[in-house]
């Protein structure tokens, strides 16, 4: 390989057919005289602009369009050399760092010698060693192209905002499960908003037997084993549900607040008394109607109960998870849009409450297709305010444009699967820790189950890995009509 050009932080390297390099590979451009080396990543592979190639190709095509047939008597065997030159490729590489005295710096301000520099491939293990991508809490994400393991440190996910995105069926949920079970393994508290009920079997292995996580997975299904009694709720949580999920107007909200306080003082804070009080409310007709309709929404959700015995408290599950590590899977499958929002409002309010009271240290929140249940104002809340309380969110989506731009800008880690659509790639490339060329070029060609990992977990050295398999019962498969069963 030979260094050809450097423009900004883009290197162009000439590579010959015997030196295979592909998108995603790392190169070490070493200038021994300068005592420095550039670490660059191949983001595109093109044909080198070898002069005369066009003529070479054109002359094999006569007017008829059929390739010209013939025999080359080449006694000196020059033809392999012609092919060698003709197949030379141009590697477009992004400079990631400068290596000097075994120390990495993000600088690309110096120019290595074009004639003296040596260029060789940098293996992922060597890169990880140089970049110190290791730690005491390893999570093996999968295997890289050079058959090494991509291992990240769980602490690099701690306190961060993460995004897992890619088109349908490429393995996003699989990766989020992998991260979750590993976090649970390190005794972390994980909460999942499970839109399709695919995380409910995390405690089961493929053969249907219980696995090591069985006791740590707490599945809460709203209306079934996940109900709450009004007396267990804080007024702020209920107000959050009414205002944000059920869009209760301000005047009515004030009236509701008065009724709630009154019932609480009387010790009659339950659904039956609340309904009765609203029915008998002596106030403006519109206010009463507004409150009545919201009450019916709450009652019909099946999420609220007057029986304390039926009320499985989120608190209890959280406490269990806090002590031993665990995942609370909130199963939102078969839940209506309004009910989903009620449940999510409740759960987030409860988490903030527990965290602000230091009942919990921190929670890793996994939110699949969050735009389906998260109100718009919560996005900012989650990435700014709630992060300070200790809610560290991972968004999982196949529609990257449903996540707001400011979320991408603040994302610490992005796990990017294949996208074919340029628009989707444009959206993802807005992330602060990602450069647009890398995203557009590498993610476009990722095979299924291969993930481009970007951000803090890989010390800002984007690495492609095939996500490793998990011995967990799969629940996320699409139900098919034309299958054999």
């Amino acid at each position: 390989m030979k260094l050809y050009k450097k423009e900004g932080n883009i290197l162009q390297v000439i590579s010959f057919p015997t030196e295979s390099a592909e998108k995603g590979d790392y190169l070490l451009v070493e200038d021994q005289e300068a005592g420095k080396a550039l670490i660059a990543q191949v983001i595109d592979v093109q044909f080198a602009a070898v002069p005369g190639v066009l003529e070479e190709l054109l002359r094999t095509l006569p007017d008829g369009g059929e390739p010209l047939q013939g025999e080359d008597i080449d006694p000196m065997e020059i033809a392999p050399h012609i092919t060698y030159i003709q197949d030379a490729s141009l590697l477009i590489c992004k400079i990631r760092a400068t290596l000097e005295n075994d120390t990495l710096s993000p600088s690309s301000s110096w120019l290595p010698s074009r004639s003296q520099s040596t260029i060789k491939k940098l293996s992922v293990p060597m890169l990880m060693k140089l970049a110190k991508i290791d730690g005491k809490l390893p999570i093996v994400l999968g295997g890289t192209k050079d058959s090494s393991l991509l291992t990240i440190d769980a602490s690099a996910i701690d306190g961060t905002l993460n995004i897992i995105t890619g088109k349908k069926g490429c393995g996003k949920s699989h990766l989020s499960k992998l991260l979750m079970v590993n976090l649970v393994g390190y005794k972390a508290t994980v909460v999942v908003f499970d839109l399709n009920g695919e995380y409910t079997s995390l405690g089961m292995s493929n053969d249907g037997k219980r696995n090591m996580y069985y006791d740590k997975i707490h599945t809460l299904t709203p209306g079934q084993n996940f109900k709450v009694a009004l007396e267990q709720l804080h007024l702020n949580t209920v107000m959050g549900i009414l205002v944000n999920a059920l869009h209760l107007p301000g005047t009515s909200a004030r009236e509701f607040r008065r009724i709630w306080k009154m019932l609480k003082e009387k010790g009659k804070l339950n659904m039956q008394e609340l309904g009765e009080e609203i029915r008998n409310l002596n106030c403006n007709q519109h206010v009463r109607d507004a409150l009545a309709s919201r009450f019916h929404s709450l009652a019909n959700s099946g999420f609220f109960t007057d029986s304390p015995g039926e009320a499985t408290l989120l608190d209890e599950s959280l406490m269990k998870a806090r002590d031993q590590g665990g995942a609370i899977v909130i199963n939102l499958k078969n839940t209506s849009n309004i009910d989903r929002q009620i449940v999510v409002e409740y759960a987030l309010g409860k988490l903030v409450d527990s965290l602000s009271n230091w009942k919990l240290k921190a929670v890793f929140l996994f939110a699949e297709e969050a735009h389906l249940y998260l109100r718009e104002t919560y996005w900012d809340d989650i990435v700014t305010r709630m992060r300070h309380f200790g809610i560290f969110t991972t968004f999982i989506t196949n529609q990257p444009d449903t996540i707001q731009e400011n979320i991408y800008r603040q994302a610490d880690n992005i796990f990017l699967f294949n996208f074919t659509n340029e628009h989707d790639l444009d959206v993802v490339s807005r992330a602060a820790r990602v450069d647009a060329e890398t995203v557009r070029s590498i993610a476009h060609d990722l095979p299924p189950h291969h993930c481009l990992t970007l951000g803090r977990v890989v010390s800002d050295f984007p690495i492609v890995a095939r996500v490793r398999a998990l011995d967990i019962k799969t629940m996320g498969e699409t139900r098919l009509f034309f299958n054999n069963n």
């Binding site: 006569p62 025999e71 008597i73 080449d74 006694p75």
Partner: protein
């Protein structure tokens, strides 16, 4: 080993006794010459040598008949074959030059074009070895024809063209010996008695062709022949092509001999015409018949036969191939390529056009 150079046996040409000594000598001389240059530095040079062409003499007596010979394409299936060679200077060493030579034969049969390319042969030509290289190759040719060496070795700068010319004559001979009842196209003219085309050698080629019932047509891409002070290819009558214009009174000073009669050929409506030399020994009927067979069996865009055009294209060295040859001589013979400054560029900047070789 040597059988691989037999260019015809795979394509159902008749099988006469084919002399394969020349390509074998080309390879031997090529390898020998390169061995002498190992581990030397090479100064790059991409200048292409045009093949040596006879300086057209322009006798004042040359006249162009104004009445054209009307042509009608003859679609009787006839093999049309053409040959061309090319040479290029790859660079200079401290003691000489490195050149490459290649030839191509193209033919049209059953409505499709096929080709055989021979080479490239790479030579390191020095003052010390140029005589040996040239004489060995000449001998390889003449030992079967004349059995003596009577050509003096050219000067070093002429060597690329002389070697290419030698290869071209050999390939022309092979075609003349193997193509039966066909039309053979040469690049250039049928002028002989020049330093690279001895009369006897060209006469022999034409004779072989005639014996096999073939006719040789030589197309010149450019000519300096003038009638009444105007280039013969620019005096086209207002007549529907295809047609030939006959010339009269063309004679050269000895030893230059014309073995063909010179015509101006305008083969289609494209406003181009070319000097066409047709074997003088062929009858009038054969000559016209050969051109009509060419019209009926080949494409002739821009009034130039496609078979000959392909031969030229196939033997020409592309920049990519020059790079590959440099790669070859670096890898196989340890010749290091160095870029010495071009003095023209150095002294005159953008006004320096580089060295011109002729």
């Amino acid at each position: 080993m040597i059988e691989q150079y037999t260019i015809t046996n795979k394509y159902n040409f008749p099988q006469p006794n084919i002399d394969t000594a020349l390509p074998q000598r080309f390879l031997e001389q090529s390898l020998n010459s390169l061995r002498q240059v190992q581990h030397q530095d090479l100064q790059l040079n991409h200048q292409t040598f045009p093949l040596l062409s006879v300086a057209d003499q322009c006798p004042s007596s040359l006249q162009l008949k104004t009445e054209p010979i009307q042509l009608k394409p003859d679609r009787q299936e006839t093999l049309v074959a053409a040959v061309d060679t090319s040479t290029i200077k790859i660079g200079e060493t401290a003691t000489g030059i490195i050149i490459a030579v290649r030839g191509a034969i193209t033919w049209r049969q059953n409505h499709s074009y096929k080709y055989t390319r021979l080479g490239p042969f790479i030579f390191h030509i020095t003052e010390d070895n140029k005589n040996a290289v040239f004489n060995t190759l000449e001998h390889a040719y003449f030992c079967t024809t004349y059995g003596s060496m009577h050509q003096s070795a050219p000067n070093m700068m002429q060597m690329p063209m002389r070697l290419a010319s030698l290869l071209e004559r050999w390939m022309q001979t092979m075609l003349a010996k193997t193509v039966g009842n066909g039309v053979i196209l040469f690049d250039g003219s049928l002028t002989s008695g020049t330093i690279d085309t001895p009369t006897q050698r060209l006469r022999e080629i034409l004779s072989h062709a005639r014996r096999n019932g073939s006719t040789v047509l030589a197309f010149s891409k450019a000519t300096t022949l003038r009638a009444n002070g105007i280039l013969i290819t620019e005096q086209l009558p207002n007549h529907e092509p295809p047609y030939l214009l006959e010339t009269l009174g063309l004679h050269f000073k000895p030893p230059t001999t014309l073995l063909g009669d010179v015509y101006v050929a305008r083969l289609n409506k494209a406003n181009f015409a070319f000097r066409l030399d047709i074997d003088r020994e062929a009858s009038e009927e054969q000559r016209i018949g050969a051109v009509q067979k060419l019209l009926g069996n080949d494409l002739y865009k821009q009034s130039y036969p496609e078979t000959l055009r392909l031969s030229h294209i196939l033997c020409t060295f592309t920049a990519n191939e020059v790079l590959a040859i440099k790669h070859f001589i670096t890898r196989k013979h340890g010749i290091q390529i160095v870029n010495r400054p071009d003095m023209h560029r150095l002294l005159f900047g953008p006004f320096g056009s580089g060295e011109i070789y002729s």
